[in-house]
Every structure is written in C-alpha cells, then in structure tokens.
C-alpha cells in the first residue's frame, strides 16, 4: 500500500462549518476592519499666532531686510496718495525709483508683505457680475458658473478685478519715523566733534555724480579728527546710510531725505 492511498483529500471539508460567523457587510469591511492607532491625534494643534501691533509688525519687517529698508518705505510712500492705487502703478513707481535692486523680493511681494504687516491696506476689486454664492471662504459670481455642451453646470476661474491699495496710519507713522530729516542733527548731536567730517561727506555726495568710496576715503581718513580714536570714512558713511541720508548708486549720492536734512542748515556753519 502506498502513502497516496492512505491520505485522501476531503474536498468538502470546511473548517468553519461548525462556527456560526456572519459574513461582514461591505460597509463593515470598509469601516471597522482596521483603524490605524493614532492615540495622540489631539496633539496635532496649530499654534496661535503671536499678536503684534501693526507698528511692531512693520518694525519687524524693516529689521528683517535692513538693506532694503528705504525701498520698502518707498512702497508705502507710493501707496500714500489721495485715492487708493492699483498695485501695478505702485510697482511701476517704486521700480522706477529703484531700478537696479538686488533684492530677491520684487515690489509686488513687498506690497503684499506690507499689507500683511498693516502698513498698507488693500481693497479687493469689485467685479460687475452679481455674487451668487458667498460665505466666509467663498465668493462666487455669476461669471464663475457656465453651462457645458452636456447641459451640466461647471465652475470656471475668472480674472480677478485689480485690487487697490492705500497707506494706513501705521504705515505713514513708520515713514515719518524712519525718513526723518532730523536724523542728521541727531547724528551730529551724538558726536559733535565730527560735524566738519559729516559736512565734508555731505558736500561731496551732493555734487553731480556723487562721490566714490576712494574719493571719500581720501578726504576723510587722513583728517586729524580721525586719529584718536582711529576712525575711517566707512564709520561715517554707515551712519548716514543707515538713516537714509545717502545711498549707493554706483557712487555715494545724497538722497531726497539728505537734501531735506541739509536744507535745515544744521551743517551750514561747518
């Protein structure tokens, strides 16, 4: 007798035959079969944003990009007009005033950052089409709905009406604070003995074409006033530039603010 005669396969054998199990419905199979264990799901919390006043937000923004401070303020100035202005006009004005900026932020982005900081406020453009659906997140006009060839209704994206912007009180206050013609007087007030040097620098940068760094170095570094403590021209240039009185445009040149500061006569006696 071979093994094969001993072991026969009982095709009718069902191991679950004596166990009374109801097969799950398709819904149960889908829902309750396995739920991934996420015991700490409630930890998934979005932190509350830190509340800052518009003035604090503007200061933070300007401190974050010191090299672009005056360009950022120029955006606020461009938005400070009798009537709200469209973004394209503001961008055009600022880009004309700062044609060779090296910033990674284009002017449209700066306008957005200033809007978020509260220096500028924007008003969404109003289209002509009547609004048909609106809630806190959605605003759809009649133009957003079209009926297709199949008779079904579809949603389509429409062009946004251009938004307008205007400077806020906080934005104007920031401009007044940072673009202060009294800054030159304050600089001289800190170290009055250097007043003749500041007068010399301001005179040189006010000339046509401004003054190059070697020219200014030659005029300042060897002055006896710079001997003790040893000072170099960069020390004075830095102070003037930080206050927006002079700026670099392939040479050091006086700014409008610098001219206004000189017009106060604070350096006339030097």
């Amino acid at each position: 007798m071979s093994d094969i005669d001993v072991f026969t396969i009982d095709d009718d054998f069902d191991p679950l035959a004596e166990i009374d199990i109801e097969p799950p419905t398709p819904e149960e199979q889908y829902v309750a079969d396995y739920m991934p264990p996420i015991p700490d799901a409630d930890k998934s919390i979005v932190p509350e944003p830190v509340a800052l006043s518009p003035a604090e937000r503007i200061d933070k923004l300007l401190a974050g990009m010191p090299g672009q401070k005056f360009r950022v303020l120029a955006v606020v100035q461009a938005a400070d007009a009798d009537k709200p202005r469209v973004a394209a006009d503001i961008v055009a004005d600022v880009d004309a005033a700062y044609p060779h900026t090296k910033s990674v932020y284009d002017t449209a982005r700066l306008l957005r950052l200033l809007t978020e900081a509260g220096a500028v406020e924007g008003e969404g453009g109003e289209g002509d089409a009547p609004i048909v659906e609106q809630d806190e997140e959605i605003c759809l006009t009649q133009d957003n709905f079209v009926v297709g060839e199949d008779g079904e209704e579809y949603l389509v994206v429409t062009d946004a009406a251009p938004a307008t912007y205007r400077a806020t009180d906080a934005g104007r206050a920031a401009v007044a604070h940072y673009l202060d013609a009294g800054a030159l007087e304050a600089i001289i007030g800190e170290e009055p003995r250097y007043a003749p040097l500041y007068a010399r620098i301001m005179s040189m940068v006010s000339a046509d074409g401004g003054a190059t760094t070697p020219q200014l170095n030659g005029a300042i570094d060897s002055d006896p006033l710079c001997a003790e403590p040893r000072r170099f021209c960069g020390y004075f240039i830095d102070k003037l530039e930080t206050c927006g009185l002079i700026e670099w445009r392939d040479a050091w040149v006086v700014t409008d603010l610098g001219r206004a500061a000189l017009a106060t006569g604070v350096l006339d006696e030097f």
Binding site: Y30, K43, V46, A108, R109, R112, N144, F145, T158, A160
Partner: protein, 233 residues
C-alpha cells in the same frame, strides 16, 4: 468593443485625469503651467459629493480673487501645509501613509514596505530623481493612475478578465491604503492650510477618493453578479 465598454473607458479616462491632477497637486508646488491649466479648467459644480463640491468652490473662488503674487502664496502654503516647521510630528499634514498608520507618526514604516511591495509586484520602480518615500500620497495616487491606464489598455484589447483584475487591484489598493489614511490627512489639511486653495484641494481629494471607492465597489459587484449569472447558465 461593446458600447458598454466604450462608456466604461470614458469613465476610466475621467478617473485617470482626476488622479493625475491630484497627483500633481500633492507632488510639488503650483507653478505657472499648472496655474494656467487651472485657469482654463472647468470644475463640475454639482457632483453629488459634498466634499468635492465644496473643494471645487474653494479652489475656483480662491483663484478668481488671486493677485499677481499667487504663486508665492501657494508655494508658501504648500510648505506650511505639507512640510511644516515643527519637529513634533504634529506640525503639518504630512503626506505619507506611514505617518498616519503608525502610533509614533514615523516615516518609512510598515505602510511604506507594503506599498513598495505592491509597486514591485506591478513591475514598477521609483525613478531615481524621486526622493520621497514610496508611501507619499502623490505616488499612491500615481499608482492608481497606472492601474487605470492598464485597465483601459486591457479593455481596448478585449481582455475583460485582465481588466477586471486591474479593477480589483484598484479597489483593494484604494480600500487598503488610500481610504485608510487619507481622511485623517484631509482633517490635518483643513487644520494647517492657510489658503482656501489647499483647503479645497484637500476636500476634492477626499470627496473623489470616497466616491471612487463607491464606484469601484458598485462596478465590481455588478461584474461579479454578471459572472455568477453566466456561471449558473
């Protein structure tokens, strides 16, 4: 090819297009090309699926009011929503199955091994240029696209048995993977997304996956029913 098969192919092509779009949404940030496509697209206004309807409205409304800086805004929101800046595993809607199927919310866990096995079984290998782990949402969605492609091909060749096996694979993958964890990620997207656009994308994906699951279940029940009837005859 029967008229019924042609209709089914049309439906499958529609599903494939939606999966492709969702894959793109979750793969990288919106760029000029995708934005231009979205501006030209028509979104169904009434799908009988509340999440999808709401999602379509959010996306269309957001894009209809977006200014010139929209791409930067969306890029920023993409990073904030899907990458996050925290280190506690609860700071973003991480688009990985492992994160949502693991108590410690770790990446590269069992779920990744399982989908990797399925990809390999289907003869698929991730491109070297792709750096995310295999259980990334966009890869899982793309896997569905590939299975749909293969189904369409089988139907065009008249191989119904093969087409049904691909449909079964889709249903199983959807139920065993995407529908198991994506609803939880959708909740997190609603929590972390700052723009209506990504909140909308989250809802579109949720509504679509749920309705696609229903579609596949119904379709395969019909197919199985027909099979049984033929067997009896």
């Amino acid at each position: 090819m029967t008229a019924q098969e042609t209709t089914l192919i049309d439906v499958l092509e529609g599903r494939r297009a939606t999966y492709q779009l969702l894959t793109r949404f979750f793969r990288t940030e919106v760029d000029e090309a995708l934005l231009a496509t979205l501006r030209e697209m028509r979104f169904p206004a009434h799908t009988h699926e509340a999440s999808m309807d709401r999602g379509h409205r959010l996306v269309v409304s957001y894009l209809s009011h977006a200014d010139a800086d929209v791409l930067t805004d969306l890029s920023r929101d993409f990073s904030g929503t899907f990458i996050g800046s925290g280190n506690d595993a609860y700071s973003a809607a991480y688009p990985f199955e492992s994160v949502y199927t693991n108590p410690k919310r770790l990446m590269m866990q069992d779920a990744r091994d399982e989908v990797l096995m399925l990809y390999r079984a289907a003869g698929l290998e991730k491109l070297e240029s792709e750096k995310e782990s295999e259980d990334h949402l966009s890869y899982e969605l793309e896997f569905m696209t590939i299975l749909i492609d293969r189904t369409i091909e089988a139907l065009r060749k008249g191989d119904e048995v093969l087409a049904v096996s691909y449909l079964l694979q889709q249903r199983n993958f959807l139920e065993d993977h995407l529908l198991r964890w994506y609803p939880m990620m959708a909740d997190d997207i609603a929590k972390f997304a700052k723009t209506a656009f990504y909140r909308g994308v989250g809802l579109i994906a949720l509504g679509f996956l749920e309705s696609d699951g229903e579609f596949l279940r119904d379709l395969l029940t019909d197919v199985e029913g027909e099979g049984e009837k033929e067997g009896e005859e």
